[in-house]
Amino acid sequence: MTALQTVQITRRVDPHLSIDRYDPEGELMLLHFGPQHPSTHGVFRMDLYLDGEKVVKVIPHVGYLHRAVEKLCETLAYVQITPIVDKNDYVAPMTNEQALNMAFEAALKLEVPRRARWMRTLFAELQRIASHLLWLGTFALDLGGALGGGSTVFIHCFRERELVLDLFEEVTGARFHYNTHTIGGNRHDLPAGWSAKVHAALDVIGPRLDEYEAMTLENRIFLDRTVGVGKLDAELALELGITGPILRACGVDHDLRRDAPFHAYDEVKVNVVTAQGGDCLARAQVRLGEMRESVRLVREMVDSVPEGSINSGKPVKLPVQTKIPPGQVYVAIETPRGELGTYLVSDGTQFPYRLKIRPPSLHALSALPYIIPGGTVSDAVAILGSVDPIMGEVDR
């Protein structure tokens, strides 16, 4: 990690503020924000203690989407796990598969063919574009409402996201839950003429990103709603284990793609996008910049995918019989939301002994009690939108 530039924060909010002591008369209003609420990005709940419109204290509650995925994985053979974890980060499903299979490969000490690594890198970057587009759309929804300008941005972003999903569909046959990564490589090879289609899609997406930047970063109301809202200082972000765009928006130059290269990231140059301020605007700037960077990376890489095999796994009679030698391994990759870690403990059977997934969104949500108090209800919505939580991976 490179030099840490701390954002100046005069006073930190106490997330453990005692409401009984703060408000002995019971004057505050307790608003249960969620789990059924249009802006909680799924089934997240916040208890907001309100003084008028001002938020005094926030208690986030997770667990409404808990599906016991990690426990379920202990009963599944290794190749059967991939389609299950697809549903964790359901906005960037491809990255779940990548992290998981990289852990298996690391445990098996299996070398992935270069072509497969390049393909994974390409998919990861395309997935980043799709994921950040969806974030931009939903963030605008949070700021502008489903019956107004917000939904216009939302639907425009979805239009571009479709182009990326079309590309994935071309390769894997699925639009969303792909199950294309497997132990030792990929399941589906790139079809002929795919790179031309990628270029065609990026020709559309690239210029539209300029439009979105003009629609957001140069929009007076957008700036009014985001500048100085939800300020997070770098120290606190690091303390809470926050990674990804939120950390980079605090000025910390940290990106696993460059700092701990996986896939084919060691063969290309990744420019890490950072921003100063740690507020909602900085997060928007980082994500918009990352989309541009991903467009550049994909353009650079798509024409030079090396030839060769896409899977190095030895042909086996029954893939479900794959066994991993006893031991433990932790592998982390940079998803659109930050560091997605997979911790695998194997006891030598065909099932994992323990599979722990470290989702970036959960850590991002842990910042809410620090950054929401002091703002209004409107700010709370904007801040929640700006941390881009995906409840599927938060609760697993």
Binding site: S39, L147, G148, S151, R225
Partner: protein
Amino acid sequence: MNEGLLHGVVYSVLIVTVVLTATAMALWFERKFAARLQTRLGPTIVGPIGLLQPVADLLKLLQKEDIVPDNADAAIFNLVPPLAALAALGAAAVVPFSPSVVASDLDVGVLYVLAIGAVTVLPIFGAGWSSNNKLALLGGMRAVAQSISYEVPLLLSAMVPVILSGSLRLGTIVQTQADHHWFVVWPFFIGLPAFGIFMLAMLAEANRIPFDIPEAESELVAGVTTEYTGMKFALFYMAEYVHTIVASAVGAALFLGGWDGPFFPGLHWMVLKTLILFTAVYWIRWTLLRFRSDQLMGLCWKWLVPMGVLLVGAAATWVVVFP
């Protein structure tokens, strides 16, 4: 006397019918218009190019169960939806659609429009209070703060045409513009900003984006209408649309010369100008994001009110210098 009564009855029935039909068509128009902005098609199934969609919507809402929450203040809860619709429709009475088509050309027309506009906040606040819902209460709080604040720049900007024409009667204001110039054309440095403030304040009163914070559905679910179902919800919805149409008509009459225009009869011009303003409101709605309530207050008290005071002063000076 009898003749006056007959005139009032006929015109009010006519105008209410026209405004309500226009509201239904406005619903269709808005959905189509928003859809085009969003690269969608909008309603296409019900009737030719979806024209009967408002009818289908209405039929659907009529079938919905009418729910009054257990702990709600039922009397107020049931009373306020029709009140909201009534207050919105009331302002249409004095709008001069042409030199002759006006239900009641009151001496104090402008004052009446503003007074009725101020009343519209009461049903909204009543709904927020009686729903016994925290989100509705927050919406009601915001609505009161917003409407009362924006009353001030609305009054100030409406004073400008009143001073320039020397009358509170809407008919006379339009006639003055027909005789001389529309107020947005000359004196444009007074009329144009006043028109801008008037439209902004009207947007704020009608709870339209970027000023729709009382119902801010991404924050307050549906604001004051959270607990309302079926036709009661539809009445609130209708009130908003009627308010926007009437506000556009009043804006056209005060600043854009009302029924004044060449070649066509006055009614055509009035309708055209109203529709243009109405479209502008929806264009803004489907383009912009939403302000935060404190920023809304800042805009009102730091910019619109001082500018309004300046404009009233300028208009008064103008009338004295160039009588």
